[in-house]
């Protein structure tokens, strides 16, 4: 029994875990619900790793060194097994005369790698949550939701049919919604969950329409079919571009790219493991994954530049804004937005494998960072980095792992981010120098805000937060799609001493820290590009000659170091509270460059503007006309009743009139 044949259990197990927990979770004692869910994820993760092993053995391998030296014709070392990519198919929804919607599990190298990544990240986040969520109301429900989310994400990754991709995609959206609002009694959480759902749902319309159009042209929703030249020949280039971009819109929404990034910051209202899992490691990168799956179409339609630009703008913009925040989770959320931008940038400049590499690497180190922040919050009882009190002293494990994650994020060798991000930047440099410059600038800011975070939270004693006064708590009219950048509540208790987190949480942190290093190394030249060998896709000209690569590594590292240096100079060496940007700039950044307000006051307001007009129209015009016709009948009736006057002579006259009418009618 190969792992491939068991692959459907990978999403199915957590789904069953969900069913069990939602139905019977309430009666499970103690932390059993958490352990049960973690156990289920562990089995899934083992299966996923097994699947990865199967794929690694069966997939074709390329000699990347040969490609680097320009001899691509002899690059294929091993052609791969004939039944690769693996495909399992069941009849799901059949319509006579149509392709219908078969249930397909499609496992190629990308799917296997991302599956393994998701399963592992989920496993550790589950484990972390056992301790983190303990004591919360609806403890078992939380794990049930996490399980279903994992199931959906795994199903999405493994789906071989775009309809099922959409299905899983939407279920992820739902779980994101439910988990953001897990603390449903908070008004801010309610607003945030609604905003997230509506924004992504709006974006998903593109996915839906794109699928319809695709089906119209090629007659099915099959993922593998899309990559075949025969199929692509059916689609005119212009149409391919439109379809590709429609789907890309959904990706932009899901991956919180500019200009649909607005929901992710508010999504930090959810519990920290949720932020780690959904809003850092997995779901948000599903958008990138989807774009990667539609890659043939985008290439066919010459639409990649749009993707690249969106990615580059987002990467830069988010990295610039991040230093303006004091909430540790929000800084990390901006960081996520920025890093996802890198992935799109990579995809957009033909760096497909690089982007995917970054996706996997980012998942681990960002999960690690979020869990670390969770641990910080857990220990310090505050989310504001200025209020955290020399955590390095109290939480050594947290500090150490957080530092690993940060270095990976900043792109310092030999951590994961270094290898993946610089590959992306190399691809950009080759295809669009201006995007490369934007990416480098973003890298500088990344290093800056990360260092700032570490210095202030871990090294400095607590200080009054300068940001609270400026916190923006404005509600919104009407539908209240609202940004909810409210101060975190409850207020931190005074005189609290931070402490290190429990066993499960630390284990999870350490495991992820190790993975953050391992994954990077697996894709590094020193490991003979093990990961990239699997991912490498056909003749994409994305990997550059070694010489140029090395220079890129050096430049990237220098930029990161300069960012660290500046932050160190300002915050570690100086007094953090003295370092202030001009007020207008602070305010603009804090208000997220007014983009949310634009959505509120313009887009949402315009979108809702017909509501009351139409409701009025419905009640008083359409229904009013109906009532009016009834009323007119009654009025007519009351007038006609005067004809029946009670007078005999009048009645006789009616008879005569009747005769006359008949006579005149008959005589013609």
């Amino acid at each position: 029994m190969s792992y491939v044949e068991l692959s459907y259990w990978i999403p199915l197990l957590p789904a069953l875990g969900f069913a069990v927990l939602i139905l019977f979770g309430r009666s499970l004692p103690g932390r059993l619900a958490g352990w049960l869910a973690t156990g289920v994820m562990a089995v899934s993760a083992v299966l996923a790793l097994g699947l990865l092993r199967d794929v690694a053995l069966a997939a074709p391998h390329w000699d990347l060194a040969a490609i680097f030296s320009g001899q691509s014709e002899s690059a294929l070392l091993a052609p791969g097994s004939p039944d690769f990519p693996f495909r399992l198919e069941w009849n799901w929804l059949a319509i006579k005369g149509q392709a219908g919607i078969p249930l397909v599990i499609y496992v190629d190298a990308l799917a296997a790698i991302v599956t393994a990544m998701v399963a592992l990240a989920s496993l550790f986040i589950h484990m972390f949550s056992i301790g983190y969520m303990w004591g919360e109301e609806r403890y078992h429900t939380f794990f049930a939701f996490l399980q279903l989310f994992s199931a959906a994400m795994l199903a999405f990754v493994l789906a071989g049919n775009f309809f099922h991709s959409l299905l899983a995609w939407e279920v992820m959206g739902l779980m994101s919604y439910l988990l953001i609002g897990f603390l449903y009694k908070k008004k801010t959480a309610q607003q945030a969950q609604k905003k997230a759902f509506i924004t992504t749902k709006l974006a998903d319309l593109g996915f839906m329409i794109g699928l319809f159009w695709l089906y119209l042209l090629i007659g099915n929703f099959d993922l593998a079919d899309l990559a075949s030249e025969h199929t692509l020949a059916l689609i005119p280039a212009g149409t391919a571009a439109v379809i590709g971009l429609l789907v890309f819109v959904a990706s932009v929404g899901k991956s919180a790219q500019f200009p649909l990034h607005v929901w992710l910051l508010d999504a930090m209202e959810g519990p920290t493991p949720v932020s780690a899992m959904i809003h850092a490691a997995t779901m948000v990168s599903a958008g990138v994954y989807l774009t990667a799956r539609f890659y043939p179409l985008l290439i066919h339609g010459h639409a990649l530049m749009v993707v690249a630009w969106v990615g580059a703008i987002t990467a830069l913009f988010a990295a610039v804004i991040a230093p303006a925040f004091a909430d540790v989770k929000k800084i990390l959320a901006w960081s996520t937005v920025s890093q996802l931008g890198y992935m799109f940038l990579g995809l957009g400049v033909f760096g497909w494998a690089a982007a995917m590499f970054h996706l996997v690497a980012h998942a681990f180190f960002k999960a690690l960072l979020f869990l670390g922040s969770g641990s910080m919050i857990h220990g310090a009882k505050t989310q504001d980095i200025f209020e955290m009190n020399r955590l390095k002293k109290y939480m050594p494990w947290t500090y150490l792992t957080f530092l690993v994650g940060s270095l990976a994020l900043m792109g310092i060798p030999p951590f994961a981010g270094f290898w993946s991000k610089d590959l992306v930047l190399h691809a950009a440099e080759e295809h669009a120098p201006i995007l490369w410059l934007m990416g480098l600038t973003a890298a500088f800011f990344t290093a800056f805000y990360t260092t700032r975070l570490i210095v202030i939270a871990f090294h400095k004693p607590a200080m009054p937060s300068p940001w609270k006064a400026a916190a923006w708590t404005k509600g919104a009219p009407w539908l209240n799609l609202g940004p909810a950048d409210a101060p975190p509540d409850p207020e931190p208790p005074q005189g609290h001493h931070p402490h290190e987190s429990g066993f499960e949480m630390v284990t999870a942190l350490v495991s992820l820290a190790i993975l953050s290093i391992v994954v990077g190394l697996w894709g590094s030249p020193w490991a003979d590009y093990g990961l990239l060998k699997l991912l490498y896709w056909g003749d994409a000209p994305e990997i550059l000659p070694v010489g140029k690569l090395l220079s890129g590594y050096v430049i990237g590292t220098l930029v990161a170091l300069s960012g660290i240096g500046l932050a160190w100079y300002w915050y570690a060496a100086g007094d953090p509270l003295k370092q202030r940007a001009p007020l207008w700039l602070t305010r603009a950044l804090q208000r997220r460059l007014y983009i949310d307000e634009f959505y509120y006051k313009v887009v949402a307001a315009l979108g809702q503007s017909p509501t009351y007009v139409l409701a009025f129209f419905d009640r008083w015009v359409i229904d009013g006309l109906v009532d009016l016709s009834g009323w007119l009948a009654l009025v007519a009736s009351s007038f006609l009743r005067y004809l029946q006057s009670g007078r005999f002579a009048v009645y006789a006259f009616y008879m005569l009139l009747g005769v006359l009418a008949l006579y005149l009618g008959g005589i013609r």
Partner: protein, 490 residues
Amino acid sequence: MTLLLIFLPIVAAALVGLLPDPKAEAGKRIALGVALFTLLASVGVYFAYPVGSGGFVSQFRLDWLRLIGSSFHVGLDGLSLPFVALTPLLTAVSVLASWRKTDKGFFALMLLLQGALVGLFAALDLIVFFLFFEAVLVPMYFMIAIWGYEERRYAAVKFLIYSLVGSVFMLAAMLATAYLAQPALGELSFDYLKLLSASGYLAALPAAAWLFWGFAIAFLIKLPAVPVHTWLPHAHTQAPTAGSIFLAGLLLKMGGYGLIRFNLALFPGELKHFSGLLAIVAFVSIVYGAYVTLAQRDLKRLIANSSVNHMGYVLLGIASMTAVGLHGAVYQMVAHGVITGLMFLMVGLLAERTHTREIAAMKGVYPAAPKLGGVLWLALLGGLGLPGLAGFLGEFQSLWGGFLGVMTRPYVWWAVFGIVILAGAMLWTIQRVLLGKAETEVADLEPYEVYAAAPLVFLAVLLGLVPALLTPWIDAGIQPILTLVQEVLK
């Protein structure tokens, strides 16, 4: 078997009506028993149906009105079976939902409705169809008018008159169809299957457009499509819980079912000719319905208006005239029956507890009553077309089919926005009603209420994940019609 499914409830209704004590407990027990028994029977018929070969099963035919060529002809096929099975299910749910009521008349009316609805879906004779179409009105009228909320009479009359407006034109069209088809058939017949064989002849008639609209008006009102939908908010809002479940779960389906059965099958040419217009109506229903939903302050009214949106997808699927779209239409109808039935069930139970339907007067229902709140949450999410629940597949297929249809394609581009608007309405409702801190005590679901909700929850999920429980039947019902349509259109 068909006869049993139709007449057992009717006979039982008479039995309940004749109980000496007007407040007899036996009334609801009989009603529940009959509903459950017919449910078992209908499920049996459903699964015994030969999906592969299709056609009509369990046919029964009896010369009835020989003079005008109408016979009591009933039978079941893949198109009607889902509804025939859904009817007793929702009846059972409604009985359980009304377990606190004691009036025997209420339960008798429910059984009467059940029988009439099954008869409607099983009818294979135009006159019989009309008979049951009308027969549904009277019990529903009384159910709303006697046991409804404060403006029940206005709502009941509106429901009655609106429905009649449609049905009388349908009757006229039926008569005209039969008489105009007489030369082709060589005899006067209201038999559906015979008329079906003459659909090519009917299509060539100069009066075909009139006939088409005669049928269509009735079904569009029942569906309901904007702008003939305004009976629905009143009726749904004012009806008692059971009445709302029937209305939403089954009565609206009469419209979509009729459109497929008659407008599509008998007048495909006209449907094709007017499909652009119908697509506009569908698009307007979807978007407009969603917007109006967004503005409601009354919880039941809100859900009622969401039905306008949901049934817009049905019309879109039908107007597309594609296999996919029709699948979507039927799927959406069944899904809507389950999910909106569930919504009304929960909202009804909630309104009984809080003694208000004002959204503004509710808050934090979920923490106060987790089971009720949780199920209502699920139902509302189902209402916004959440994937994994039945509603999504219906909407998706309808839109998909709509995109495949040439005439409907342009409107799909805009109809999809209805999804987001409705999502906004539903989420906002969830936020206002369910979330937040509990302010008042709300009793959680009683065991029997859990039993009422459980099958609907189960079905909502099951149909969202396992379409194979429905699509083969739809295929068996739709494909012969589509084949015929293609022949006629040639």
